[in-house]
């Protein structure tokens, strides 16, 4: 198996092509967003949280689940403190199935969103690129299952470090 993985890596090496540095690829949409960013993530409904502050969550009286059927039961959970802020959840159960999950109070991740600005570095796009020559530490891709792992680039990287 290891040999097969190495072969894949070697094969990929032969197809290395030049990198293209993509910089300044701002679309008109993204520059416009900068001026309105506070409104983009504003809670649409059912939450009173903003920034780091939070007020006690009064469940919104939207009547979720009420009136649609006599069998619907809405249960409100306790308010829970999470690392993103206080959270409260309502679950509506009807005929043994959850029909709705609503969150009278949910966390606001604006603060954490902004942290990445200083840390996001340019993405280098290439048509084909090999993991070894590119000096890759990890691979991000569609979820690799344990079954598919042995054939993945990530497993080649992991092998190389063992």
């Amino acid at each position: 198996m290891v040999t097969a993985v190495r072969r894949i890596v070697l094969w990929a090496m032969s197809t290395l092509t030049a990198l293209v540095l993509v910089l300044g690829y701002h679309t008109s949409t993204s520059s416009q967003m900068a001026s309105v960013e506070s409104s983009v993530l504003a809670p649409v409904s059912g939450s009173t949280s903003s920034g780091s502050g939070s007020s006690s969550g009064t469940p919104s009286s939207s009547g979720t689940g009420d009136g649609t059927s006599a069998a619907a039961v809405t249960v409100t959970g306790d308010r829970v403190q999470t690392r993103w802020g206080p959270v409260q959840v309502q679950v509506t159960v009807q005929a043994g199935e959850i029909t709705d999950v609503s969150v009278p109070q949910y966390p606001d991740d604006n603060g954490r969103d902004r942290q990445i600005n200083a840390r996001a570095l340019p993405i280098l796009v290439s048509e084909t690129l090999d993991a070894q020559d590119a000096g890759i530490d990890m691979v991000s891709g569609a979820t690799v299952t344990s079954e598919g792992y042995v054939e993945s680039l990530q497993s080649a990287l992991d092998e190389a470090g063992l």
């Binding site: 894949i8 197809t15 679309t27 993204s30 900068a34 001026s35 960013e37 983009v40 993530l41 649409v44 249960v75 829970v80 999470t82 993103w84 959270v87 409260q88 959840v89 679950v91 043994g96 199935e97 959850i98 999950v101 609503s102 969150v103 949910y106 954490r112 969103d113 902004r114 990445i116 600005n117 840390r119 996001a120 570095l121 993405i123 796009v125 290439s126 084909t128 690129l129 590119a134 890759i136 530490d137 990890m138 691979v139 991000s140 891709g141 569609a142 979820t143 690799v144 299952t145 344990s146 598919g148 054939e151 993945s152 680039l153 990530q154 497993s155 992991d158 190389a160 470090g161 063992l162």
Partner: protein
Amino acid sequence: MSAVVRPPARRVEHVMGMPISLALRGRHTDDTAARAAWEAALAVLREADRVFSTYRPDSCISRLGRGEIGPEDCPPEVAEVLALGAAAERRSGGAFAVHRPGPDGAAVLDPSGVVKGWAVERAAAALEALPETDFCLSAGGDLTCRTLHDDAAPWRIGIEDPADPRRLTAVVPVRTGAVATSGAAHRGAHVVDARTGRPPAGVASVTVLAASLTWADIDATAAYAQGPDAARWLETLPGRSGLVVWADGSTTVVEPVLPAG
């Protein structure tokens, strides 16, 4: 510049049916502290699997989904995850949802789209406790990295080519932050647009960078589910950057919206 750079120490274990890969560099890479932090990280993932697995009929999430128990009977993490899912549903206009249509048409509670990134971010807290040590922790292709010193080289993250998972389509250097990718390359069409119940069209994969792996994972899935609108939607999220690979192989880079001045 002339300092010898040693390759990071690496470990792999399989939890939740996924490979969990760790790279460590710095003071604690292969000592007792490193091993203990690794075991603690794996324990967090195993516990998340026990509570949230939709494959286990006796998990809290399965029992909650059948209406046998309420959220107050579950560990507080369940409320946290459902809240994250509801927030994601709201800001994606319903493309992302923690319910999916079951075989009989009734809604099935399935917060898997939230749990993975969230659980790995929690697991990484055990590694953050390692002094003078940089790490990169990946669960099946979604990862979170830390680099303590600005003069250290960033972690170099390869983004898989969705058309050929043996190749990379891009590289993104990350010092501290998370990278998550959603696509159909390995498991087939398992993500659907919750508004239509159908797999998205036109998009091959979406990679999102964010400070938090929880949100990188959620936003990658939510953007992917929106098919042709993936890049446009990502651009509306302040602070997000990412890469959309379209079905025809072309790409769109989404740059972070930088604060003015």
